[in-house]
Amino acid sequence: MAQLTLLQAVNDALKTEMKKDDRVVIFGEDVGYVGGVFRATEGLQKEFGESRCFDTPLCESGIIGAAIGMSLYGLRPIAEIQFLDFIYPAFDQIISEAAKMRYRSGGQFTCPMVIRTPYGGGIKGGHYHSQSTEAFFAHTPGLKVVIPSNPYDAKGLLISAIRDPDPVMFLEPKRLYRSLKGEVPEGDYTVPIGKAHSVCEGTDVTLFCYGAMVPVCTEAAKKANGQGTSCEVVDLRTITPLDMEAILAAAQKTGRVVIVHEAVKTAGFGAEISALISEKAMEYMKAPILRVAGFDTPFPYTLEHVYMPDSVRVLRAIEKVMKY
């Protein structure tokens, strides 16, 4: 099996689906000729031609609006937004249009499309190349929000997203784009949307995370293990629809929960997980549910390394729930 980076796995998934389904088209800013500023679409224009993979004008509302039109017409568009931080000109098209098309037309019209975009911090990108605003999209019924944390899942989840009958936000943790490699099978396979995955088993504390926070939590779990605390790490992989059964089972198993995301703490997705556990499994809890998250400030530049949750901060939270 090939050892690929997350970025290569994304490229592989796109290629696999483009080969299989001639309705799949890919476009965005700098996506065609040079293959994307991160090179996620490298080689696709050459292999599949300019009508399947192309550059667009610099206009996110146009990119997403056009993707909606194409999906209504019967194509399977994959729109790349260069950075999640630049998606807001398209917010109306995503929130008011793509997300609601099926519902508002009584199922007459649908928008099967994927919006791929790098998100998250850790690359010294300042306010506008670093944010994690997945909660905006998770707060919108009609959208699915998928966030892979490793090359294998990235390919399998992206193929699922492309085949999904509903619009999918596919958020790629850019910090992990090239920082780790993993085994990725050739050709066609899928990882189901809406299913969490237990990265490592444990009995004392359950860590919930996704995206770039998965390796951070794994590292924290290792450190905790050295101190005699056994941690379960659950990678959510999809935040909408949420794998509620898996979350409740993992929370009940240990009775101690720490939720980790790099997004702003207040009204971040961690609050949703915490509320779910409080509502459905409070009686199993041995300690308060803690969140380790970005601070309620815009994403800073020089102090990025302080802002981003790291394994030390996660470990402190683990110690806190153990001491409670």
Partner: protein, 371 residues
């Protein structure tokens, strides 16, 4: 194409027609030239600092320094809504070099307090509004400032800058349309450097002359040779005068070329033919202006050599000084989110300070990524 390109200096530095030579004082001519040279070497140093890992990122304006011509007609009360390649405009209007370099380092010498990545300048004393990454957002804001000036019956005008790529964003339309509808004192300056990262302008719009877009909004559009500082000065001066006299906005398209990479994260050899670079290096705005100044007997090679030494020294001294700065304090991260710090931020700040004490060293990451 119905719009012609305004040019005063030919690429070889000679006048197209001596009758259209603008009247600019010797002091202003020399100041513009100095800022252009300063900008060129500042960009060179900025890139070097980035490659040495001393700063995280840099954007050059190499080849586009003639934009300084748009700064001369402005008055102190005017407002500037920049994109990110208008270094020369800021420096000409009074942006201190130390503030510029301080921002690159994001340390205690940075007025922005290390909160933004390099090249995202802001300097309130000259109304140089805070730069942000999202393209073209400033265009609509400039229209707003211009409308405000009109509401208050002030004489201030607003000028805003964007690239050819920026014209594709909805906010370009919004800003142009607002300014037109309100007949606001606003000048839209589009630097058509022919690329938006890798995307050539032909793919950006089916209209080969961006200045023509003004028609759709009911005000004049003018195309100017963006490498000709005198022509840039002249057309902006006329647009500023129109705006100040209540005749509404103007769109200026400065036809130019980005001689460097898009940013320190970019490699233009992947998409830009070498021949294009060679073609445009013949049209260098600094060389052209220098030839003109020498022909007017306002400048000499000896003075030029001295100036280059001077600006290099000034940059070096400032870099050395700024590098003595210290990183922003942890608590500064929580300040100025609002005027007053709400409880959630106070709690988070206290928690962080407590953790920091327990934690000791922080890890750093500085991998190069395309921004």
């Amino acid at each position: 194409m119905t719009v012609e390109m305004v040019q005063i200096l030919k690429p070889d530095g000679s006048l197209v027609n001596s009758k259209i030579e603008p009247k600019i004082s010797e002091a202003d001519l020399k100041k513009m030239y100095r800022v252009m040279v300063l900008t060129r070497f500042l960009d060179e140093r900025g890139l070097t600092l980035q490659r040495q890992g001393r700063i995280g990122f840099y954007v050059t304006s190499t080849g586009q320094e003639a934009i300084v011509g748009s700064a001369l007609p402005l008055q102190k009360e005017d407002w500037i809504f920049p994109a990110y390649r208008e270094h020369a405009v800021g420096l000409f209007r009074g942006f201190p070099l130390k503030v510029f370099i301080g921002q690159l380092f994001g340390n205690s010498e940075d007025l922005n307090k290390g909160r933004q990545m390099p090249n995202h300048f802001a300097y309130a004393p000259i109304h140089y509004v805070s730069i942000s990454s999202p393209i073209a957002t400033q265009v609509a804001q400039a229209a707003g400032a211009a409308i405000a000036s009109k509401i208050r019956k002030d004489s201030a005008i607003a000028i805003t800058y964007c690239g050819d790529g920026g014209t594709s964003e909805g906010e370009f339309h919004a800003g142009m349309n607002f300014a037109g509808a309100f007949k606001a004192p606003c000048v839209f300056f589009c630097s058509n450097n022919q690329y938006a990262i890798s995307v050539p302008v032909e793919k950006q719009t089916a209209q080969p002359v961006i200045a023509e877009k003004a028609k759709a909004y009911g005000f004049p559009g003018i195309r100017v040779d963006g490498n000709d500082v005198l022509a840039v000065y002249q057309v902006v001066k006329e647009a500023v005068t129109r705006a100040r006299e209540g005749q509404g906005p103007t769109l200026i398209e400065a036809f130019t070329f980005r001689m460097g990479a898009h940013s320190s994260s970019d490699d233009p050899t992947r998409y830009c033919p070498k021949s294009k670079l060679e073609e445009w290096s013949q049209k260098d705005p600094i060389k052209r202006f220098k030839t003109y100044l020498i022909s007017k007997k306002l400048w000499s090679e000896a003075e030029d050599t001295k100036l280059i030494e001077q600006v290099k020294q000034e940059i070096s001294d400032t870099v050395t000084e700024v590098m003595k700065g210290t990183p922003p304090s942890l608590s500064s991260m929580f300040e100025e989110v609002y005027q007053e710090m709400p409880l959630n931020l106070q709690w988070q700040k206290e928690e962080l300070l407590e953790e920091a004490r327990a934690k000791g060293e922080f890890l750093d990451s500085s991998e190069a990524f395309p921004l």
